[in-house]
Symmetry: C2
Subunit: 342 residues, 2 copies
């Protein structure tokens, strides 16, 4: 038998919150139920109190829909597909369906989204490269809707459970591989610097150069978004230099493919004239010519871990201590890397 | 002003159906509401009568969840991502969220799925390369949940609204392009023959050969699934022949990429030794080396059309006549095709 909850964990009742907010209990109830007929100022005052008191809806289990919400920063590329598959795997086993949303390029989903989630009461929310602002967190917390961030773009704070990959170690392993092949002039394509994963990968690259006693040339580090087009554009910039690098560590596989195109356009052969390492190990990495050496990020497993964690959070009465789990990356050596030409 | 409904369109009432089924009206109501506490035999008898009478729940609008269901045969590859994006675009504009399911390789989603859909009452269901069996159709119809099939695997029947692409014309255009380059020995990789789209593409290929006065060699047509692995395996089979084809029309882009790998392995250069045409025009087609000549299928636009159609169906009082819409395919010539070596 589980022990009964003690008095310490008791939270404010709905009536107490109504009194403190100077509204009726039914109004608090309306706010809790995501109803539209509440003035915005009243809603935010009540939400604030619900949050301050750590109010958690009782018996949340019983009123939940058999859904799990999955929110992407942007729905692009095979990357997202690997993640969707992981969440689908866990949802299917748990008898849940997946609601998919896109925060349409913004890094926090819109207010409408949060209201919709509060109204449909899913078992949990998995956010991919996407965060929640304070009011959204308060809204979900007040409904006992747990959330987990996968591969956070920013610093999610130590109280937000998150699943990531060892990005720094990946950058280190990729660059060490190039150093061991004999490269001394190694460029880096970086993803957006507001995303922590991009920074961690480039920091791993720097650490590999420094520990090998090689200079870090800041002009060889170029930054853009995670798409093919950026890899192509930044690749041309790096490869057109007189003193072009003999190897490049790309921020992800799509950037690496853009770099392939830039090299083709300039008549540079991979790996004879240029070695390339990617990041992610999307299916396409095996299919391109030459097959891409890359840092494997276990996206499907990460998504499964995030979905399992969010369901676990929903089952527990108290928040668990788990804050951040990082799954290991690993270097997959294929045919796009070789020693530099003599 | 819209005219008032006439007596002709009146359907059986719940009480009439209950009487005919020999059960109480509340039992019919339970079946309609997807409740579990009804014996399977009773449920199927009632469903049968609901279907026979063309029963449609009144005022369905009011009780719908702000959701649209999207069901895939399998969630694989960037192909699915293009489709998801199209449905998301339409859903976002309509203030709806998308529930994503996978029928896990089976061509009709499971019974549990249909019950879940009936219980959550979405605005509509878009099925991708996936069909519904009779009882599932009856279940959705009885709840006035409209559905549309996108790119059907089988023959969806003339009464099921569906959105497709001009697969036959695509196969014709791809093969004509190869014939015009001077190829006379052209192979074809086909997708699964149970999928109508595969058959239509290969039939277009045959028609191009026949109208050009070229023989159709059945041994040059090989069949497998739509994945990279199949393209590689079937590609090796075709290319290892003494009398290997000088050009191959692949069933889709992923098969074409598998064929690229087979050619690389055998030391055949594309397009010098082998011309390749794909189908779909996924983003990756532009990124591979050499960039792939392929038949563009407007997947995102098709998905948008399917989502809009299903929402239109939900708004209308009568089923519209629209049964099958095919969006045009178009040949995109890149660098994987050239005249055969002399």
């Amino acid at each position: 038998m589980k022990p009964t909850k003690t008095a310490e964990t008791r939270t404010a009742t709905l009536a107490e919150i109504a009194r403190e907010a100077g509204v009726s209990a039914p109004t608090v109830s309306k706010v809790l139920n995501g109803r539209a007929d509440v003035a915005p100022s009243t809603r935010s005052r009540v939400e604030e109190l619900l949050r301050a008191h750590g109010y958690r809806r009782r018996r949340a289990e019983a009123t939940r829909s058999p859904l799990i919400d999955l929110v992407f920063h942007e729905l692009e590329s095979a990357w997202a597909m690997e993640v969707i598959r992981g969440v689908e795997n866990v949802a299917r086993d748990a008898g849940l369906s997946v609601v998919l949303s896109e925060s349409a390029g913004r890094l926090t989903p819109g207010r409408t989204w949060a209201d919709q989630v509060a109204a449909r009461r899913p078992h949990g929310v998995v956010l991919v490269l996407s965060g929640l602002d304070e009011s959204q967190r308060a809204l979900l917390t007040s409904r006992s809707i747990p959330f987990v961030v996968m591969d956070p773009a920013g610093d999610p704070g130590t109280d937000v459970p998150s699943i990531g990959a060892t990005n720094w170690q990946g950058g280190l392993a990729a660059t060490r591989h190039l150093v061991e092949l004999g490269h001394t002039r190694i460029g880096a394509l970086s993803g957006p610097s507001r995303m922590m994963c991009s920074r961690a990968r480039v920091d791993g690259y720097r650490a590999a150069l420094e520990t090998a006693g090689l200079p870090v040339d800041p002009s060889l580090i170029v930054t853009g978004d995670f798409h093919h087009e950026a890899g192509y554009r930044l690749g041309l910039k790096l490869l057109r230099r007189e003193d072009r690098p003999t190897a490049v560590f790309a921020g992800n596989d799509l950037q690496a493919l853009g770099l392939y195109e830039a090299a083709r356009e300039l008549g540079l052969r991979i790996p004879e004239d240029l070695s390339v390492v990617g990041f992610d190990d999307l299916p396409v990495a095996r299919w391109v010519g030459p097959p891409l050496t890359t840092v494997r990020q276990p996206l499907t497993e990460m998504a499964e871990a995030a979905a399992r964690l969010v369901l676990d959070l929903g089952r527990e009465e108290e928040s668990p201590v788990a804050t951040r789990v990082e799954l290991a990356t690993s270097l997959v050596v294929r045919s796009s890397t070789a020693p530099p030409a003599a």
